[in-house]
Amino acid sequence: MNDLWQMQSFLVSSMKADTTLALANCAAWLDPALFSADEFDSDSEEDDLTYALHVCRACFPEVYTEVVQRLWRGESALQLNQVICAGLNRYLVTPLQDISQIQYGVPFEALGLDRDDSDFRAQHPRLARIADWFHSDDQEPHECASILIKSLAVYGEKGIHADLAHLLGWLFGISGNTLVDWTEDMIWEGGIEPPEWTPDDIAFINEVQEEAHEMVSSAQRALEQLEQDRGWAQTLQRNIRLVRERKKPDDQPALRWQPDACHSPSDLPHPDSELLPVRGDPAPSDGGGGDHRVSG
């Protein structure tokens, strides 16, 4: 052992013997982000890693620990990037692809539709066909859809009626879930702040995202049903017409919806729900589970 190594060995032994120095050594070993600056340059790759470490430290201590130990082992930036993404993705509904995304807040996927977009018809021809049924010179389509959703709500939160309500909510951006109602562009242009890396924001956006996926899956089931079952398509068109033909906005048209063939009558909350007036019930998506609109 040469002199330098002997000196280093002596210093390490001395540090271990002194409680304060041992604690400082422990801090540098287990929690190095404690000593790094908390201001970051968003264009720097090095700062991406530092920022990622700070986020992991605040919200995902186990991920932070793993990354720190790999950092001490000298793993490459690419390897660390992959470990951080894999670690964070265990806690996220919308996965992170790269640590450079972390600075933009908790990732989310906006599933909304922009019917005014010139590409809408080309990108979503099946949905555009349903939207056309609502076209009217006298009434905004979303007003009609809103009345239909209310009439469907009494059939419960599962089954074709709920699926259809979700389809209308998605198509006209009135589901109550921001990630279902808005496209990514609308969110940015609307000035909605991205969710921050805090336990509360992470839990909230995960919940909203999960609900958004469920609602869009449900809406897609309804879309298939409308395409495959002519009876359901005719029912929807007839009810659209009944809503349009109201003499006054307060009139409550008697909307008829056929029973759900896949659900037993005992599933239905209303025994005579074939003929129901419009009520002020919440959309099925609301479900009493709270508002899933992301505030601006």
Binding site: Q8, A22, L23, C26, W29
Partner: protein, 88 residues
């Protein structure tokens, strides 16, 4: 007359010095390590144990910061003992 309470700043210092060091797994691992020359940190501890130590250490740091924050916001407490160093 001894009241059993702190009487002076030196009593306070003595009391604080008698506080045993926190029993942290990370400290134990640092002290037990037989890392080769050139290594500042333990590299022979099982990863799971290191993870456990780090999570405990982060929690310890948070509790220390919280305690320090509370101390900065302490309201004045009227003392019934003679401890002039803390007189208002």
């Amino acid at each position: 007359m001894s009241t059993g309470f702190l009487q002076s700043t030196s009593d306070l210092i003595t009391c604080l010095l008698q506080t045993p060091p926190a029993d942290l797994l990370g400290l134990a691992l640092v002290r037990q390590s037989t890392s080769p020359p050139g290594a500042w940190f333990p590299n022979d501890a099982p990863l799971e144990q290191v993870k456990q130590a780090a999570v405990e250490f982060l929690d310890y740091g948070n509790r220390c910061r919280e305690a320090a924050h509370k101390l900065t916001a302490l309201r004045p407490v009227p003392l019934s003992v003679s401890c002039l160093e803390f007189g208002l």
